[in-house]
Amino acid sequence: MNDVRSYLLGGSDEATSESIETRALQDDEFFETIRSVEDDLFDQFARGELSDDERAAFLRRFGQQSERIRFANALARRRPNVIAFPARRWLGWAAAAAIAIGITALVVRQPAAPPVAVHSQVLRSMDVTLAIGATRSSSQSTQVVVPNGISTVNLRVRLNPADRYEKYVMTLRSKGVSWGSGEVHASNDAGDLIVAAKVPANILVPDTYELSVSGDGEELGFATLEVRGQK
């Protein structure tokens, strides 16, 4: 791959270039491999990992490919806080702490559930804020409706201020979904200790989910989320 990389940056001699180019014309797999090395160069460019000479050579050769540059830049700037875990067998509910819940998004009206303000306009993202309580007995299902047009649910968990850790992991599970946030960090929000992650709305199909939060590997608590279909 170093030969190919060097060729793409204009650093190969004539004989090597001819060899690479001729092989690329007759070998589809080799041609696609070269394209994958191009992808790596776009990523290195986006991350600022090319030397000055390499950067100049990259721009001479690929600078007009604005869509690929745009994509590489977005990939480099994307926060790695949303990772889809591979599907796991559902092992059943773990013991859950009680939940005190504050919701700032649209919630379906149920006879036992308190009414919540509804956003009248279509939003591209919505916030759901939950807090982990101390006991299970006071827990209640939190019902959420994800409106059409919402692409991301900003899941925010209010933690006990004493639960300060270097990093946290949020996991959302149902029978058919297993999603993990990857490592996230807590932040202070008006005196509250909050961990947050963005959940793609399209994985939140109507179902009951268990949200668990751990800090540096230690389980901190659970919450229950009932996602309802939009009427």
């Binding site: 092989r23 589809d28 041609f31 540059i69 745009r70 977005a74 994307r78 692409s151």
Partner: protein, 191 residues
């Protein structure tokens, strides 16, 4: 540079015959060769690689019709030679009719929320195993991580590279389609 194909049925047929005895497979091979020729021209810095690739294969076909002694094993080298000629001619033509110069020194800042949001949506549209592999593969460009992924999937590194490249093409197209839906249009770069 406009291009109208001067490939006759006879010269196209000779090229297809050289690519494969089966015409259906030959047609596929022709498109693959065209795409690879365009790739070559792009690496050389051609401003219209697809058009020049068409011109290249047109000329190859006409030369075959005229009796050029090209075999299947020498076809790639022959196509490269013709592509090189076509490229140099296009450079002379471009100097006579220069396109506006683009200042490409500064890449467009792409931390804009819409681009990132489109990317997230497009990633979410992949099935979970593809999404997981894509995120692992492109986070940091670490050889050891990629080797581990290939091992987990029980495929070669080459197969992994190609698979990831194809997924990336899908994602790039998805992001561009998403941006168009949001009303983002390409702005010409300042000279």
């Amino acid at each position: 540079m406009t291009h109208a194909s001067r490939l006759t049925a006879g010269s196209l047929g000779r090229l297809l015959d050289l690519l494969d005895a089966d015409r259906d497979r030959a047609a596929i091979a022709y498109e693959q060769l065209r795409e690879r020729a365009a790739g070559l021209l792009q690496w050389w810095g051609a401003t219209h690689p697809d058009e020049l690739a068409d011109e290249t294969l047109d000329r190859v076909g006409r030369k075959l019709d005229e009796g050029a002694p090209v075999t299947q094993s020498s076809l790639a080298a022959y196509v490269r030679g013709v592509a090189r000629l076509v490229f140099y001619e296009s450079r002379r033509a471009d100097r006579n009719d220069p396109l506006p110069r683009h200042d490409l020194a500064a890449p467009q800042p792409e931390g804009q929320p819409d681009v990132l949001e489109c990317l997230d949506e497009c990633l979410a549209s992949l099935d979970s195993s593809d999404r997981d592999v894509v995120l692992r593969y492109y986070e940091g460009n670490k050889v050891a991580v990629r080797q581990r992924i290939a091992s987990d999937l029980n495929i070669s590194m080459t197969a992994l590279r190609i698979r990831m490249h194809r997924l990336r093409i899908r994602l790039e197209s998805c992001v561009e389609a998403g941006l168009k839906r949001l009303g983002h249009f390409e702005h010409p770069l300042q000279a």
